[in-house]
Symmetry: C2
Subunit: 387 residues, 2 copies
């Protein structure tokens, strides 16, 4: 929500970089990280940052409270890569497939406090069987569905206690509750965001109480999504908050009202390669391979198509968007209905394109070109992709 | 259009593979390659396969007429990677940004016959200046816009000759014409596909004649898109055909009528991780990170959402599609309006999901699990991603 006053990188500072390429504005990222940590501090709850957005060891170290965690990941590959870099406290936050249990145990045997997630009895039985088979004690959170968004059991369902009991009887460690308020992405006002956060908290706490009433200590009550993390007013009963995309923010988050355009810390650098004057189009060398195919703003009040186009210093051109994306071509146009002029961008001009969805756009790249105080200061690799 | 009779991989053959993972059915791929080569042979025109779809040296060797080419690429990174693997005749088929010319020259200096593409005078001047500066002769095709789809100058525009003259005066080698009938993706009948192919051919040949009338030999007339390559009835005047996605095919190509579902050679293997019985949903561990965000069938008569779901042998379940995709979660449902039953797929079951767009889905992975005669026989890496 703040305005950006940092010095702007000049076209000459960016000119040596290959295009398309991923840029990261370090001051904006640092500001985004500080904002969420400051928001959570008076609420008395720590952050377990989701590393799936950045997938970078350099960035993880800025996100985590300590060099060893806590952290959240979306794949066991991420868990393995971050563990190899010294992270010791990791939640794998996607309901586990039984065939992945051996890899999870292998990580724990390397000294990583990895916890896993289940939301049904079949998974719980598989976890219990694996614990029995290998004589290990897998810490397991039970996912609940706080808003009908995706995975998780319904609050109040007696299945919750049955899952915890199944886990415990097999020798697993039912550590508590986790939920993700993915439905908060549909919020369109501050009041709705605040309500989504409270709904998430209340559902998670209610389920933890249900477990405790049945004799399970449930020390962990883990909630989170970037919108609810920023708009929670009270986190009583919650023990940790997870969030990922806040580190960079993006056009979807700006469209929801969680950040402003000026907070978006990543962009894709592209070169103008041609024009179609009769169609008022500018062609650039960044297509969906560089931006991703994400169209997350398509159903928001302002559709940003494949991204909002900025000058090399990061200032948006009025209503200039990437209207079409092919694999390595992007077509820039003025947003339909706008009377803004098409800027004069000769062949070879550089532009920066803000992404709809930071997780998806960053995933198309292997490293970050880090900008600080208007200069390119570092190249931070992303961890190996894949599963 | 043929029916598949190859032996089916069993669930037990696939069980050792990590999920999500990319599967490649070698028999289907070989059949797709043979089909296009057989179609082009009587038309007297060779194939310059586009390697951007597979980005694999193993697959390139099956696509190309000889171990050294010819080949088409969409980035200089691809050109560099395939050149390092011995490919010598490469067309970089995206209009070049002036800042990339040094890399293009460096490849030529390593003995690669790399040709580049321009479609405007600014690019031609930049190419000419680089040729003068370095004393090199860059082979350059001029892109024309045969169907209003994207890049290229309009057929009949006198600019064509001016670009050729600018190139030649600087010491570059204006080798001829290239075009890409991307508009053929909107075709909805065989007659429209045949017409799109003829429109592409006629425009390219007309422009080559325009160049020849002005004194430029224009030995290359390069056309192509997967739909037009398969439906061309006559290629008089054309010297080469480019196509990429045909090697795998996908749901978009099936929707256009270029192939059948049984021809699609890649799929994403996923594990069932849960259910939402009240919403008739099955959750799997493949989301958009494994499938891509491509929704290329959204505007086709049959919307396949994020992909069509098959059993482990590759047979589609009736109307079972991936309705929603998050980063590492996919939500399977029966297609809206269908009365097909939701299959009984317990936690841990394996499914294979056919992609909307093979180029986009394959790009989310780092290797292919190659299936042949129902067994996993190889792991073929994709070249390094990035630019």
């Amino acid at each position: 929500m703040s305005t950006s006053f940092e010095p702007s990188p000049t076209e000459s500072a960016l000119a040596p970089l290959p295009t398309p390429g991923l840029l990261l504005d370090q001051q904006r990222m640092d500001r985004n990280i500080a904002r969420l940590k400051q928001h959570l501090r008076p609420l008395g709850v720590g952050l377990r940052p989701h590393l799936k957005t950045s997938k970078s060891i350099d960035i993880a170290q800025r996100l985590m409270a300590t060099p060893t965690g806590p952290a959240t990941v979306s794949t066991l590959k991420e868990a393995e890569e971050f563990a190899a870099a010294g992270v010791k406290d990791i939640l794998y936050a996607v309901g586990i497939a039984p065939a992945k249990l051996n890899r999870a145990v292998a990580l724990r045997n390397r000294g990583v406090d990895l916890s896993i997630v289940v939301d049904n009895l079949d998974q719980a039985k598989a976890v219990a069987a694996k614990c029995r088979e290998l004589g290990v004690k897998l810490p397991t959170l039970i996912e609940i569905d706080s808003d009908g968004h995706r995975a998780g059991i319904q609050p109040g369902d007696p299945l919750l206690v049955e899952i915890a009991r199944t886990l415990q009887e097999g020798g697993a460690d039912p550590r508590g509750i986790m939920t993700h308020a993915g439905g908060s992405y549909d919020a369109r006002s501050e009041a709705q965001l605040v309500a989504a956060a409270e709904q998430e908290r209340a559902a998670a706490v209610q389920c933890a109480e249900q477990l405790r009433a049945a004799g399970f200590a449930s020390p962990v009550v883990s909630v989170g999504s970037t919108p609810t993390a920023h708009f929670a007013r009270d986190l009583t009963g919650v023990t940790e908050v997870r969030a990922g995309v806040f580190v960079f923010f993006d056009l979807v988050m700006a469209g929801i009202g969680v950040c402003s355009i000026d907070d978006i810390a990543i962009s894709v650098l592209a070169s103008v390669i041609g024009h179609q004057p009769s169609k008022h189009q500018i062609l650039v060398d960044a297509g969906w391979m560089a931006m991703s195919r994400d169209r997350g703003t398509a159903n928001q009040p302002v559709d940003q198509y494949y991204g909002l186009v900025c000058d090399p210093s990061g200032r948006p051109y009025p209503d200039l968007i990437m209207r079409q994306a092919n694999q390595e071509h992007g077509v820039l146009e003025i947003r339909p209905g706008s009377s803004a002029p098409l800027p004069d961008l000769p062949v070879g001009s550089l532009v920066r394109i803000l992404p709809n969805h930071a997780c998806a756009t960053a995933a198309q790249h292997t490293y970050y070109n880090v900008l600080s105080e208007g200069r390119v200061v570092a190249k931070w690799p992303r961890i190996a992709s894949g599963w």
